[in-house]
Subunit: 337 residues, 2 copies
């Protein structure tokens, strides 16, 4: 299988991308990585290593979209940028998917422009995995669709539960709707309508109802559906609060120990590594024909390698076929929903 | 000064409320607490202690709004419930404010029904304090107004910065708008319009622009403005993620120690106490004529005592007068905003 990697994406230039690609082909037997970007930057980095030449390809692109550029404008101004080129390769089936640590808005935007949505999909969304007391939980959407319609959230529930099944191995995923209270009738129009669509739809048996912010890490559900605004705030808050607490653990707990300080520090480091975003392997943009994994801007080579491995896995498990199959069970939705 | 306490509010009945009232009058010299509820339940609990009789009063009310009842219906069905009675006492100036650990929706709803908004206020909102690397930060709104207008958020910025000044002692509070990215132009219509109102208004010098979920605990701003849906999810998420991480610290860090296990466990407990909601003293509903502090449903006597002390402080610092004064600096806003 072949995955396009945006070699120019992320805060650290080509180096972690190239290193991540080499690490990925070493651990994923059937993977070929297509490095997309400026050959003048990619080739020198690549030449420092030995690797099976047939499993690394380079496709030239011109122009890089900066991490802080406005996506729509930048995509228009630089039509041959590395992100758009990755999408072209995927849209024309030259690759099975793409991985990028570049400007998230541009990755999503270029994907939407390509308009190669999976059959039945209204709007793609970004899913992410959050750690819970029982393992992991899918949260969708975390930023692709900040003002969605109820039908979008309904589809996210379906796509998210396919991810929970094929990525996390949950046979019968339970879906919860993020809300400000558990009782039916809580929240604004979007969540009330979404609630009704779930309750009265073919996936009612998977739908447990509303969940709240405090439930995210309890593992009460396998999939949490929310609009991209709330999901994005939540995702970044989780990152921030984790950093904040671990910092205090370092000073207020590890700091007061003496003989066992090193053991405690090691245990804390292990926890930090376990929950670091680089372990998760990026966030899939679901609903697009082709696998797309979006990585954190500050991804290191481990993060890129994990994202490539996860992309390969989603191709292997035919995640998208399962999504199309499940979405087909939904009734035809009105445009207003 | 006199504060009405909803003696029936919360998950644990009158006991923590009565005990919290006694604790509060012992530590706040000029405070009288008016216990509102069923005298048949309050009096026996009260009779177990000795206290200065002139500083505890009982006002009878009939009917309690359950924690899971639908606020609007329940308020209508039980007009003489303890929450509404607390508001009546405050609206008629018999008390300077109220504290309740009861049904949050009912506390807000009864406050809105009373319609005694502070001069210039469009919609009251709930503020809360979140711990940061540099101290605390006000987040507003966290659940009173889940689909606000831009002008509401603008006013929350003003009210929140008055709270930051008079409660936290920040001379020149900085205000941030919760969004999905830092750059101007990010987010949906609500945040874009709110951004413009701040940028072009009299508080532009306090407004630092957009902040993201990961900034909450960094202390980059003193006030974060958001709609009540996002704020509520965030508040509950903070609670949940803290519990989740501290649980893991217990097993994965403290659990692997031997000689210094007790020291580490003690340090962890100290951190848990420091950030427990009972320390914070509840969340003020701002924009109402009178002080209103909303407590966590599972409040213990310490939480109630702290909330009463905080209510007394807000009366003493004339928080509401300062809010009215600051709001008067805003230009007249159109109804559409």
């Amino acid at each position: 299988m072949r995955i396009a990697l945006d070699a120019m994406g992320g805060d650290h230039g080509v180096r972690p991308n190239v290193a991540g690609a080499l690490q990925a082909i070493a651990s994923v037997p059937d993977l070929t990585v297509v490095l997309v970007g400026d050959p003048a930057l990619i080739e020198p980095t690549l030449s420092l290593s030995t690797y099976p030449a047939e499993r690394i390809e380079i496709v030239a692109s011109a122009g890089v979209i900066g991490m802080d550029e406005k996506p729509v404008e930048a995509l228009r101004r630089k039509p041959d940028n590395s992100i758009s080129r990755c999408w072209q390769l995927t849209a024309t089936k030259k690759t099975d998917g793409l991985v990028s640590a570049g400007n998230t808005g541009a990755v999503v935007g270029a994907g939407l422009f390509a308009r190669r949505f999976l059959k039945g999909v209204r709007r793609p969304g970004i899913a992410t995995l959050m750690p819970t007391e029982k393992g992991s939980c899918v949260i969708m959407d975390v930023g692709a669709n900040i003002f969605p319609k109820p039908s979008h959230l309904l589809q996210y529930g379906v796509m998210g539960s396919v991810l929970a099944k094929h990525r996390l191995g949950v046979e019968h995923p339970k879906i919860g709707l993020m809300n400000v209270g558990e009782e039916e009738g809580k929240g604004h129009e979007l969540v009330q309508k979404t609630y009704a669509l779930f309750r009265n739809g073919p996936f009612a048996d998977r739908f447990v109802g509303n969940v709240e912010g405090r439930d995210v890490h309890k593992g009460v559900v396998d999939v949490i559906i929310t609009d991209g605004f709330v999901g994005n705030v939540l995702l970044k808050h989780a990152e921030g609060v984790f950093e904040f607490i671990m910092g205090m653990i370092g000073t207020d707990v590890v700091g007061v120990l003496s003989a066992e300080k090193a053991i405690a520090a090691q245990a804390v480091q292990k926890m930090i590594d376990k929950f670091h975003y680089s372990t998760a392997g990026g966030a899939p943009l679901l609903g697009i024909d082709g696998v797309c994994i979006i990585c954190h801007g500050s991804s290191d080579e481990r993060a890129i390698a994990n994202a490539l491995a996860v992309a390969a896995q989603d191709v292997r498990t035919q995640l998208n076929d399962h999504i199309v199959e499940e979405l087909a069970k939904l009734p035809v939705l009105s445009d207003e929903d």
